[in-house]
């Protein structure tokens, strides 16, 4: 029905509520995305506390395809296959007015972390490269998908912090892959919902004055008047899809006998609003794939 870059609406007919709900649950909770997880703060003299700043950075949606990355588990080292590194360095000089730190200040570092780890022994390996917090084998810029599209936050105008004169924030943020179940920052949809198609049935013929009354009652103009000839008019249901089931048309004395409001049991109107990492039709396809994978896991466990 409707498809933009960020949201879409479509109809599913002939499916059951259980499956539709499964799709909705998977879209919200089990589709992986990339989001900032670890924030290494070098300097924060702003009034925003470290943890609040880290929390806000985690919620910023990042425009990158999560299918190109792997999960990072406990004992893995962060390398170019599972981490995306961002840097944020903002300073408000003394004498200049207050500045607002927006999400476009996050710069992508395709070569990995720049912060140097402190090594215990002074006579460490003879390599001249200092050890950083990530172990990037090769620069992420060489991956073909990122050559033309650098990794940036999806919306550049998200306010992350505010700085007064003389305050500075310098930090490095590592984004990893995760699913919505562990934390909502990893949910790829702003939201996803479905509703069933409403069915408005006129139990008797409604004519003339009653028809006009019915048409004027509905706030979304579901009904229409059609002319039958000989001056008689009849009410018809023109746009059942727009009906919000407000029940305004069955208020009053006898209307309940004339209009029946129901839902069609197997016609679902899905709406998916994506946060921007992936386009919504891809999200739905991935969700269906994930349900298939779950089934397959159950099957292999059984046999």
């Amino acid at each position: 029905v409707r498809l933009n870059e960020d949201d879409m609406e479509f109809d599913m007919i002939g499916i059951d509520a259980a499956i539709a709900n499964s799709f909705r649950r998977i879209l919200i909770a089990e589709l992986p995305t990339m989001a900032i997880e670890k924030v290494l703060i070098a300097n924060n003299t702003s009034i925003i506390q470290d943890e609040v700043l880290a929390h806000r950075l985690g919620l910023v949606p990042i425009r990158v395809d999560p299918r190109l990355f792997d999960y990072l588990s406990e004992n893995d080292q962060p390398n170019e296959k599972n981490t995306v590194v961002f840097k944020l360095h903002v300073q408000c000089k003394r004498g200049s007015p207050r500045i607002t730190v927006k999400s476009d200040a996050l710069k992508w570092l395709p070569n990995g972390s720049e912060l140097v780890k402190e090594t215990r022994n002074a006579t460490s390996d003879s390599s001249s490269k200092p050890e950083t917090y990530t172990y990037f084998g090769c620069s992420q810029e060489t991956i073909p998908e990122f050559v033309k599209n650098p990794i940036i936050p999806k919306y550049p105008d998200i306010i992350v912090a505010k700085l007064g004169p003389g305050q500075e924030i310098e930090l490095e943020a590592h984004a990893v892959k995760g699913i919505g179940k562990t934390h909502a920052k990893w949910s790829p949809v702003a939201t996803a919902w479905y509703r069933m198609l409403p069915e408005v049935v006129l139990l008797e013929d409604i004519e003339d004055d009653l028809a006009e009354e019915l048409k004027s009652k509905c706030p979304v103009n579901v009904f229409d008047i059609e002319d039958l000839g000989k001056g008689r008019r009849r009410a018809t249901v023109a746009r059942p899809r727009a009906c919000t089931l407000c029940r305004e048309c069955i208020r009053g004395d006898d209307w309940e006998k004339r209009v029946a409001l129901r839902r069609v049991k197997d016609h679902f109107i899905f709406t998916i609003e994506s946060t921007g990492a992936l386009p919504p039709e891809v999200l739905f396809t991935e969700a269906v794939k994930i349900l298939e994978d779950k089934c397959e896991r159950v099957i292999t466990e059984l046999s």
Partner: protein, 117 residues
Amino acid sequence: MEHGSFTDNSAATFSLTDEDHTIANAVRFTLNQDPRVTFCGYSIPHPSEARVNIRVQTTGDPAREVLKDACQNLMLMCRHVRSTFDKAVEDFKASNAVKAMKIDSQDSSGDDSEESE
């Protein structure tokens, strides 16, 4: 994990770890569609623990096979949904592209193109 009796394998309870309503409800629905099944249901023993118990009772066939068939049916359904959806998205994009081209090449007082879906 399956809990049943050793003599009668037409009724059994399957305990799945790391699952929740998402898959359990879908599997229960497909099990219900199977004519060999007399009873099927699922329960979650405690919401803090990610475990689901699915109970299947059949008319003689081993419960394990019936559950496997239900999962296969669910997978087929998913595949069908996916292919239908992909095709619908393609059709929609194609018809939108055509509409955009028509609007570009018409005057400002053009009439609407006909509704295809």
